[in-house]
């Protein structure tokens, strides 16, 4: 639960500076922190335009030996309670990594860093991983450091062509991809009693109270719009309204159990959910090479393809250490090692031959999976989120909030 994590991290002083503690306690007690209070007294919260930064400290700063890394759960390889990738990184660079799995959904996480960013205070993180649309939004507001690509040789050498110069972040000025993934449907065969093939199945009254949807507005709205036979990239406000109708009905008819962030994994595993919207890698790891009762499908109507990116928040305290990490994970062997464990789509295509040559059959299966290295056929079934301008975003958010707030 996000709330649990929030409270836990607010109580535990580990890795939290005193100022950060005070800031959090401020939020907990009054619901508004100092920046907000100042703003209330008439001091404008300022969103500095990105160009205004003349003296970019990034080019002169040195490795500090410390890196605070915020990421999503189960998004890095793990063995015996530690991550081989992080251990190798620490050994190779002498940088100590505080790796925290604090991100459950984009907006909730963004909310925890937005205030210091808006008032030009450094946030607690040096490196964050958020989805492409949020990268675009944060870069627009001047909340992300510009990357020094001379420090990222592995990226220019090994990244796949489609991961370079993406529309959400031209020239990769502020971000490089961490992993891509597919939004589709996961289902528990024992509970559904049949194969699930369509997004429409999420609205089947037979699964009353056993269907999970996502708190990510873009995932849920775009997938539903896709199921109505509309390409999300061409969707209008009318289409968004129709999608909202459908979601409201699903909720009011009691078909919906709950809206989830990354925390849908637990209820899916323990049988509270018969089927739910899911992200490919979360489920694949449990289904490949085993006779698990859970399956992942890209619906007939199509699935969503997104990219989560690494970025450095403006005024981060250890930006060069963050660049080191960005460069490190673009080593082909490191990329392969991570993909073998997390099963999302790696931005490094050269990881595939490495995995295909592995000794164990599970890893070879990962290399063969069209969900990890999408085939041409699979690519044709995947769609991108609709690109929303700020006004549209507010309208879509309002529609969606009405659904999830009850």
């Amino acid at each position: 639960m996000t709330e649990l994590e929030r409270i836990m991290s607010a109580v535990s002083p580990r890795g939290v500076s005193r100022r950060e503690m005070l800031r959090r306690i401020g939020i907990g007690a009054g619901g508004a922190s100092m920046a907000g209070l100042l703003a209330a007294c008439g001091v404008e919260g300022e969103a500095e335009p990105p160009a205004a930064e003349g003296k970019d400290p990034l080019s002169t700063a040195k490795v500090a030996g410390e890196l605070n890394f915020a990421n999503w759960p189960a998004y890095i390889d793990k063995a015996k309670g530690a991550s081989p990738t992080l251990e190798q990184f620490e050994k190779a660079t002498d940088i100590e990594v505080e790796y925290k799995e604090v991100i459950n959904d984009n907006l909730s996480f963004y909310a925890t860093i937005r205030e210091p960013l808006a008032s030009s205070q450094p946030v607690q993180w040096d490196l964050i991983v958020v989805t492409d649309w949020l990268i675009a939004k944060m870069a627009d507001l001047g909340y992300l450091e510009e990357l020094d690509h001379s420090k990222l040789p592995n990226f220019s050498k090994n990244a796949g062509a489609i991961y370079k110069d993406p529309t959400y972040d031209p020239d990769n000025a502020h971000s490089v991809p961490w992993q891509s993934g597919i939004t589709g449907i996961a289902y528990n065969r024992e509970l559904t009693g049949r194969e699930i093939t369509k997004t429409e199945d999420l609205f089947d009254p037979a699964f009353e109270g056993q269907v999970g949807m996502m708190t990510e507005m873009r995932d849920t709205m775009n997938l539903v719009i896709l199921s109505m036979g509309i390409n999300p990239e061409d969707a209008t406000l009318e289409d968004a309204r129709a999608a909202q109708e459908k979601l409201l009905k699903q909720r009011e008819d009691g078909i919906l159990r709950q809206y989830y962030g990354n925390d849908y994994v637990q209820p899916l595993a323990q049988g509270d959910l018969a089927l739910c919207m899911a992200w490919s890698g979360d489920v694949l790891g449990k289904t490949l090479g085993s006779d698990s009762k859970v399956d992942f499908v890209v619906p007939e109507e199509g699935g969503m393809l997104w990219t989560d990116c690494m970025a450095i928040p403006q005024d981060a305290e250890h930006p060069v250490d963050a660049l080191e990490m960005m460069n490190f994970v673009y080593r082909t062997d490191v990329a392969a090692q991570m993909t073998a464990w997390i099963n999302y789509i790696s931005p490094v295509p050269k990881a595939k031959p490495i995995l295909a040559g592995a000794k164990d059959s599970y890893t070879r299966q990962v290399a063969d999976s069209p969900l990890v290295f999408p085939s041409k056929d699979m690519e044709s079934r995947l769609h991108s989120y609709k690109n929303l301008d700020p006004e549209e975003e507010e309208e879509w958010n309002d529609l969606f909030n009405e659904v999830i707030e009850g």
Partner: protein
């Protein structure tokens, strides 16, 4: 402005102990008059710094308009903020009040017999029984509620077992329903009702019941005419302590419920921490505070305030 209040938040130095009552009756009349006020100073300073000042800022927020990114500015259209907050979330406000009322009545019905038994028949082990009742509540609120989520999950140890032996149909569910939310809140808020009731029942003078018996009253009459009226202050205190936090509770509704059971506490949390729409969140908070004040006032009038002092 914010800094100014921060200064005041520094804990006040402890006051020198006041003269013993009656001591120096003539010499220190002015000091004696001042002492009680000085004694309240730490408490008042604490309240001002951590309650009144934040509340004041929250109140200020309701007059502003804007977002974190573009900054906030005063708006003359602030009544609209309150109006919109209320009309958008009236369902959740009403739902919260209804849930909280049910929870208050349920905790009263559950804890009165229990505490009556402990206070009247507990004998020397009274304190042990009270401790036993409180023991589960030594774990944090959140952990307890998450535990319920595991215990009550559709295929979990409780429902799963009952389904396996055929006592429940395979698609029976408890979680993600109003029943689950209300039950969770009833469980979590039980001590808030039980302890004030226990105090009231415990200090009941048993010779009054003997007297009632001597005057030929039946046990039922003695209960209705002696025990119940004398424990009303406990009922009143317990109801307030249960009702007020349960109206604003969001943990139970978020963990055990679903969007059909969203309570106003969840909405305020989302407005402040996810959507970061501070004006709406603040306006909702004040609507809630105002609503609770009115409800408490009416309740106090109905129950008779002279009962409150016991």
């Amino acid at each position: 402005m914010a800094l100014g209040t921060q200064d005041r938040s520094a804990p006040a130095p402890p006051e020198p102990p006041p003269d013993r009552a009656g001591g120096g009756r003539k010499g220190s009349k002015s000091r004696k008059g001042l002492a009680p006020y000085l004694l309240t100073l730490p408490g008042v300073a604490w309240l001002v710094a951590f309650f009144a000042a934040p509340l004041g800022f929250m109140f200020l927020f309701t007059f502003y308009d804007g977002t974190i990114d573009i900054g906030y500015s005063f708006t003359s259209d602030w009544p609209q903020t309150y109006f919109e907050a209320f009309t958008t979330y009236d369902t959740q406000i009403i739902r919260s009040v209804i849930y909280a009322l049910i929870v208050t009545v349920a905790t009263l019905l559950i804890s009165f017999p229990m505490m009556y038994w402990i206070a009247m028949k507990g004998g020397r082990r009274k304190n042990l029984f009270v401790l036993l009742m409180l023991l589960p509540f030594f774990t944090p609120f959140l952990i307890r509620t998450l535990a319920w989520q595991l215990v009550l999950s559709d295929q979990g140890i409780f429902l799963g077992t009952l389904k396996d032996i055929g006592l429940l149909s395979a698609d029976f569910k408890l979680l993600a329903s109003p029943l689950a939310v209300i039950s969770g809140m009833t469980y979590n808020f039980l001590p808030f009702m039980a302890l004030p009731l226990y105090v009231a029942l415990e200090k009941l003078d048993s010779s009054l019941l003997d007297a009632a018996a001597d005057l030929y009253s039946s046990k039922r009459e003695a209960f209705l005419k002696v025990t119940l009226p004398l424990t009303l202050p406990g009922v009143f205190a317990g109801s307030l302590l249960t009702f007020i936090p349960s109206v604003g509770d969001f943990i139970d509704a978020e963990i055990l419920g679903n969007p059909n059971t969203t309570m106003i506490g969840s909405i305020i949390r989302r407005q402040l921490l996810v959507n970061q729409d501070y004006p709406t969140g603040a306006a909702l908070s004040f609507l809630l505070i105002a609503g609770i004040l009115v409800a408490v006032f009416l309740y106090a009038r109905a129950l008779g305030t002279e009962e409150l002092t016991g």
